[in-house]
Symmetry: C2
Subunit: 192 residues, 2 copies
DNA sequence: AGTCTGACGGCACTGAGTAACATCACTATA
DNA sequence: TATAGTGATGTTACTCAGTGCCGTCAGACT
């Protein structure tokens, strides 16, 4: 018999989400989270860099995903196709469980300015990751930046629709639809 | 003779920037700032909502500026021209003193993750403000979003070049140059 | 059997931010 | 001229996120 129950991180995660849903993010203390998980504050801060990161723990993998999507695209793919490959792999990783989690998390997130700020930061990190990945594939500097904005915007727009809907369609299809909308908008708008 | 020295806010601001430049943002406490300004921590937090806002106090006016730029554009202006009008007014407000301030602030900002996060949030707020202003002028929803990304990106790219350079050219000229670059990039990239 | 390692607890601390109440020059009104 | 506000500041005491240091002990390793 081992000295401690396993999966400390998972227990903290579940405890935190329960408490956030019950009493809100701000009125839950880190000590309460640790206590419900059968641990102490010290351990919580060993496993999460700060309180906000408990909510966004999954987001860091996404950076690696966009990058991989761009890196794996066919040789000779156009800049636009490189970007699409990035957001395709990015959105492809979301299974249906993420939709349920999203429905719990989104209201908590909306109620806390602190969490909002972190969410925006994570979005920016994704944008920068996509921009860098595109730039590495020899896309022009301005093309890389503009395409990154477009792709990440499509991802977030698609995500919102996906979370709000109930259909069996995967996130990717919603995101690609948004990519098409934004592409059309940009074509119309940059000729004046 | 009045009971207190005037311009408490200004004194706090100057004290803070001095201390941040001397010892860095993180190792300066709010009590130290207040003390150098001849005030107390309480007053500091009455005048600034948190420690980060001391650095970004000027940013909130910018939101009003972009909005005004879009609102004031000619009737019959194209979506692209509406956006350009927004960033033109936005960047037009920066005088040479802002460049000096920027040179002091930028290294401080780069050294602190906390300030970085707030900076990204302010950028996002600007983007959202531009997007909403465009949408109010009957721009299509996707056009408004994509144009807002493009405009704010141009603003930040232009700002970086301006701060790094010494010429007499105003910020606006750098920003408009970036707008042109990004417009060309988007034209190339959205036809594949 | 002895030693090391790594995951956790305990404890005391710093510093941001909040809340409630006190102070007192100045102002307005009687 | 007395009196009653008003508003910007101070004082004190508090909560809570996050850090640092050290102690503990089961299991692994030799």
């Amino acid at each position: 018999m081992s000295r401690w129950e396993p999966d400390a991180r998972g227990r903290l995660l579940r405890a935190a989400l329960e408490l956030f849903a019950e009493h809100g993010y701000e009125s839950t203390t880190t000590a309460q989270i640790a206590e419900r998980a059968g641990l102490t504050k010290t351990t919580l801060f060993r496993l999460f860099s700060d309180k906000r990161e408990i909510v966004f723990q999954a987001q860091d993998e996404l950076v690696a995903l966009v990058k991989r999507g761009v890196d794996e695209a066919d040789v000779g793919a156009s800049p636009f196709e490189l970007m699409v490959s990035g957001v395709r792999v990015l959105s492809g990783a979301h299974v249906d469980e993420h939709r349920r989690t999203g429905r719990i998390l989104d209201p908590i997130l909306a109620a806390s300015p602190e969490l909002n700020e972190r969410a925006v930061f994570k979005r920016f990190a994704l944008t920068v990751a996509l921009e860098k990945a595109l730039f590495n594939r020899l896309v022009d500097r301005w093309e890389a930046g503009a395409l990154a904005d477009l792709g990440i915007r499509a991802y977030y727009l698609g995500y919102d629709v996906w979370v709000a809907s109930d259909g069996p369609a995967p996130l990717t299809s919603y995101v690609l639809e948004q990519v098409t909308h934004l592409q059309g908008a940009m074509q119309r708008v940059t000729n004046s």
